[in-house]
């Protein structure tokens, strides 16, 4: 596509906003009451985090992996694919994230969350709680009907943002786990932007916060690892 610079975002938009949000309406209707279980799983992540048991990371990774798998299969592959031929590729990306979460968090037990008193820990917790509780209200606030709400563990955007919250709060930068959520923030954010959705900047905002905190954690770890800095290791 040598003339790529001649394309605008709207040239890649295959559907109307009406069709896009109507898809959520029909999807919500079809999978209800999975929403209750999904939100309960999200609250369980918060509870595990606050309790801070040694094995919390494994369970958090397992819950997130289950949510990503559901979204990949039931939403992206079975629903979104009917209006977007790229959805099967997105589903593949989500499936890869499932494997990464299982490998990193469940098998290797490398996904540990900082205490909420820590700045990164508190930021991550707020982002996760925002994804769980505030995200479904955004549609209502901008005038979309309640039937089209997007719920953590059911719809991709709040699931990705909730996952970013966990990764923001992780005790180390998980760049490999961040790649696919960040890509999704770019893709879905661009889609919402092209549709002129008022909430289009939320996903890029969450992605930016995750990038900044991951970068800060990487820099901190490098400083701590360096014997020349004079700083306490």
């Amino acid at each position: 596509m040598s003339e790529w610079w001649t394309y605008s975002l709207s040239d890649f938009l295959l559907f109307s906003p009406r069709t896009y949000y109507r898809l959520f309406e029909l999807y919500n209707l079809a999978v209800w009451p999975w929403h209750i279980l999904a939100v309960t799983l999200g609250l369980a992540v918060v509870a595990l985090w606050l309790l801070g048991r040694a094995w919390h990371g494994r369970l958090v990774a397992l819950i997130l992996a289950a949510c990503w798998l559901w979204v990949a299969w039931v939403y992206l592959l079975l629903r979104y694919d009917t209006i977007n031929w790229a959805a099967s590729y997105f589903a593949l990306g989500f499936a890869v994230e499932v494997l990464l979460l299982v490998w990193t968090g469940l098998i290797r037990n490398r996904l540990r969350l900082r205490p909420v008193g820590d700045v990164a820990g508190a930021s991550g917790l707020y982002v996760l709680i925002f994804a769980l509780s505030a995200w479904p209200l955004i549609g209502l606030l901008v005038g979309r009907p309640w039937a089209q709400v997007e719920v953590f563990g059911v719809a991709p955007d709040p699931t990705v943002v909730g996952t970013l919250g966990v990764l923001i709060a992780a005790d180390r930068p998980h760049w490999v786990l961040l790649v696919i959520p960040l890509l999704w923030c770019a893709i879905s954010g661009a889609t919402l932007w092209a549709m002129q959705s008022p909430d289009a900047l939320l996903l890029p905002g969450a992605a930016l916060l995750a990038l900044v905190t991951a970068g800060w954690k990487s820099a901190s770890r490098r400083r701590q690892a360096s014997p020349d800095t004079g700083r306490p290791v």
Binding site: T6, S10, L13, L14, F15, S16, T19, L23, T82, I83
Partner: protein, 310 residues
């Protein structure tokens, strides 16, 4: 789907007359009988096509939503009832092809249909399979027109389409581009390949094709389909804030959509435009642009100048 008529001098003359001869002969103000839909001949066959068709980009990509699918079927019903024939789609347009097939089933397969689709895949070898999948989605015995979408892998795909045409598996072949892209390559293909159709973007603000593509199409006997006549609605939104100009009545236009469409289809090099919509009332409004008086060259210049100033 209609049969390809033989091209005879009588038929060609009749087609020209049906077109009102307006655009081709350029009278001061083209006239057409108000109750008859304006048609233009496909140059390679003489077959008459109504100058307004129906696009499906975005508007017909509604997935499995039965309510929205029924809405699209209503759009198609209004289109055929108003005398329309050409519906255009592509495998790039998500579920649009299946939605068209759904609508055609609902309408008991209107015999007036002129089915136009595209091949859009980077793999040359998978082109025939994609075309077959598209044919099944529409539920037609064969397409009237198949085009290479956006010139993607155009050489092998065009060979495939020409072979299909020779075998009677498609009636016409063509190429498409949009929004002014790769016009130089389009020209080269128009000069060297036996095309029946070319599809490009043209409207009051995107007029690059007037310089070379449209004159070349007339010289080479290639029918021209115009996509994005409303710039995906942006052009309508831009002009509808302003009152209709007084001269609109002189060319039987009751809306900005009709002004925009009449400007396009009155160009002598244009065969038809394919506006897309989700609303049956908009289809009727668009189809009305294929009736009544057409603008002449002087009026067309006035129209373009007026819109450019808005």
């Amino acid at each position: 789907m209609g049969q390809m008529p033989p091209l005879s001098r009588r038929r060609l003359l009749r087609s020209l007359a049906a077109a009102g001869a307006a655009a081709l002969l350029r009278p001061p103000v083209a006239s057409a009988q108000p109750d008859r839909i304006l048609t233009k001949p496909i140059a390679s066959s003489g077959e008459a096509l109504p100058v307004v068709g129906l696009g499906s980009w975005i508007t017909f990509n509604v997935g499995d939503d039965v309510v929205a699918r029924d809405g699209c079927a209503q759009v198609m019903r209004a289109f055929f009832a108003a005398g329309g024939r050409m519906i255009d789609s592509s495998p790039m347009y998500g579920s649009s092809q299946k939605v068209i097939g759904y609508g055609l089933d609902k309408l008991d397969r209107p015999p007036r249909l002129f089915s136009a689709d595209k091949v859009w895949i980077s793999s040359a070898g998978r082109g025939p399979a994609q075309i077959e999948a598209s044919r099944q989605a529409w539920g037609v015995a064969r397409f009237d027109l198949l085009q290479v979408h956006n010139l993607l892998t155009w050489e092998p795909h065009l060979r495939t389409l020409l072979a299909m045409k020779a075998a009677g598996q498609v009636r016409y072949v063509g190429i498409t581009t949009s929004e002014g892209r790769r016009h130089g390559e389009v020209e080269r293909i128009m000069r060297t390949q036996p095309l029946d159709f070319v599809q490009v973007t043209y409207n009051m603000l995107d007029r690059e094709v007037e310089d070379r593509i449209l004159p070349l199409a007339r010289d080479r006997g290639i029918a021209v389909i115009i996509n994005r006549p409303f710039r995906e609605g942006d052009l309508i939104r831009k002009v509808e804030r302003h009152p209709l100009p007084g001269w609109a009545a002189e060319i039987d236009c009751a809306s900005w959509a009709q002004i925009i469409l009449k400007f396009i289809v009155s160009h002598p090099g244009v065969t038809c435009a394919i506006p897309a919509t989700t609303r049956a009332d908009h289809v009727r409004e668009n189809m009305a642009a294929a009736r009544g008086r057409m603008p002449d060259a002087g009026m067309r210049a006035r129209m373009a100048a007026h819109v450019e100033k808005l």
